[in-house]
């Protein structure tokens, strides 16, 4: 199988500080891969390494099967879109789009053709003669995407391209990006700290922490079967409820409760007894009339209620353990009340307390 981008044993260190360590990553042809993580996890750094904007300490990078480890950014067949758009302020939109092509000595009529095509795809035709200063944020980002587009490359790199936009525009452009990907079928590597963007756009998500990839999987897999405690905690809002206890004979024991984990898909068939942590997503808790159908049932004391319109977030106590529940927006809950809840163990996650890996 030919990978679009292949990264082998990538090391990057600034002096004594190791930013990326022994990182391997294979990206498929036409794949939309999102690098997700909190700030400082190395996701942008990795992207810059792929682009050739940072010189790596060790390892190899292949793009389209060609070793580009030490090649100039412009020779790698990539296009890049930046968070701050990075449009050349003194050039017109057209100038911005054609700058790279001129550097590559592309013939004039070819430049015209490609610019026209990009302008059509991104609907920025009327803006071609304006300077970036006269554009709105959304228009600027479109131009920035266009700049990558005209290069006619195989791999697009996006470095948090939507972070500087306001919330509404962000959603619009997100949708457009997805459409663009469907249309172009290029490989896209997309860096973000926003999990909604990651979930909605990605074919696969790579969750990064401390310069390493924690989990590389489809959004669904990441959401439902997080490989470790970090990923489980990172994905999902409000985040997962965690309760520490023991796994004993296929049941999770906490305090004086015993929760039989019937239907839970263990990673290894025979899982030995050990201290463990159970994770339950607040939105996977059922209430009201659905409770009787749930395999496991509890009662919790309501501490605080946050109505959010579509949902209501309930902060409750399960025994001494804080427990968040996401209920329907219509649900009527009052502070101090005790309510019944139900949980399906097959939708929960179990982690080894020591290694924090999924059990």
């Amino acid at each position: 199988m030919t990978y679009s981008v292949e990264i082998k044993q990538l090391d990057l260190a600034f002096g004594a500080v190791k930013v990326l360590q022994g990182l391997d990553l294979n990206i498929n042809e036409g794949e939309f891969l999102v690098l997700l993580g909190s700030s400082g996890c190395g996701k942008s750094t990795l992207l810059n390494c792929i682009a050739g904007l940072l010189e790596i300490t060790d390892g190899q990078i292949y793009i389209k099967g060609e070793n580009v480890t030490w090649a100039e950014p412009s020779e790698r067949g990539i296009g890049m879109v930046f968070q701050s758009y990075a449009l050349y302020p003194q050039m017109t939109v057209k100038g911005n789009l054609s700058f790279g092509l001129k550097n590559a000595k592309v013939p004039k009529d070819e430049i015209e053709k490609r610019v026209a095509r990009a302008a059509e795809i991104l609907q920025i035709g009327p803006l071609l003669d304006r300077k970036p200063g006269a554009l709105s944020g959304g228009q600027r980002q479109r131009v920035a995407i266009g700049r990558a587009l005209v290069r006619d490359v195989d791999v697009f790199l996006f470095d948090e391209p939507l972070s500087n936009l306001d919330a509404k525009l962000r959603v619009d452009l997100r949708v457009e990006l997805k459409r663009l990907h469907n249309q172009l079928e290029n490989t896209m590597i997309y860096v973000t700290h926003d999990q909604i963007e990651a979930m909605t756009l990605a074919d696969r998500i790579a969750i990064m922490k401390g310069g390493q990839i924690m989990q590389l999987a489809s959004p669904d897999e990441i959401y439902n079967r997080p490989r470790n405690l970090y990923v489980a905690d990172f994905i999902g809002s409000p985040s997962m409820n965690f309760i520490e206890g023991h796994l004993e004979g296929g049941s999770f024991k906490v305090d004086d409760m015993v929760l039989p984990m019937d239907g839970y898909d263990f990673a290894a068939p025979q899982t030995a007894d050990r201290p463990a942590t159970i994770g339950i997503r607040p939105e996977h808790v059922v209430t009201g009339e659905l409770v009787p159908n749930a395999p496991l049932q509890f009662t919790v004391d309501v501490d605080l209620v946050e109505p959010m319109g579509s949902d209501t977030l309930v902060y409750a106590k399960l025994g001494q353990h804080p427990f968040r529940i996401r209920m329907d927006g219509q649900a009527k809950v009052t502070v101090g009340e005790t309510i019944a809840i139900g949980v399906d163990p097959s939708r929960a996650s179990l982690f080894d307390k020591a290694t924090e890996d999924r059990l």
Binding site: T2, Y3, E6, G52, E55, Q60, Y62, G65, E66, N67, V68, T69, W70, A71, E72, E75, R76
Partner: protein
Amino acid sequence: MAVTDTGQTGAGAKKPSPLFKNLTAKIAAIPMIMTALVVFIGCTLWTIYHSFTKSRLLPAPEKWVGLENYERLWSENRWIVSIENLAIYGACSLILSLTIGFILAALLDRKIRFENTIRTIILYPFALSFVVTGLVWQWILNPQLGLQNVVRSWGWETFTFDPINNADIVIYGILIAGIWQGSGFVMVLLLAGMRGIDEDVWKASRVEGIPAWKTYIFIVIPMMRPVFVTALVIISAGIIKVYDLVVAQTSGGPGIASEVPAKYVIEKMFTSQNLGLGFAASTMMLLSVLVVLIPWAYLEFGGKKNG
């Protein structure tokens, strides 16, 4: 993994030699590197070395005499006078220009009208050369036709102010000119620092009913410490270099009453044809700069690493 095999032949497979990394940038930086190494380090070391030799009209690196030039330097009255003048001029001009600069900045910061005009007026002397400044003040302070004469003609017959010919006060005449030229600049620096302070500080002090002058002294000035330090370093570096002003205004006179080290160096090197002594004197100047510079650099750069 056939990919890997073909990949090895790619243009980017070979790591470039570190010497040729950023080669263009290195070539472009050659003037800077040469200036740093040859002029700033090389020339300085050359001068320091030759200050230990008996160089007269021509550099004589082979005639090593140890500290002889330094002994002679510190036994020379003219050098002592130069140092004293520099100390008086330096201390006064530091204190005065910082005080005047701060007061002016504070006044300008009080949302007054014509702020731009006033700032333009206060700052224009800074655009002028020291030679121009020195000559103008030489003329204004001229005892026969200048200020003294005018005040006397107003009826104050005994008024005496002659900082051109009176050896005791001549350095203050230069000080007046120096302050006139430089205080506007200090004001601009401090004003910039003042504007950098969060406006909420003022709101808070007003809510608490603290009078403006107290706010300035106990809150604003401590907050402006970095700006003051910068101003201090800049003024000090300028003071040590003071030369043209003295040459134009008094030529070091009357007698040797307004001599300064920078002038001493030039004259020993070129007029008295005693290069060794001139080098020794300039090395002392360098030393005095370092005395100011090193603590500052330590605070400025050493502090950042720790913080």
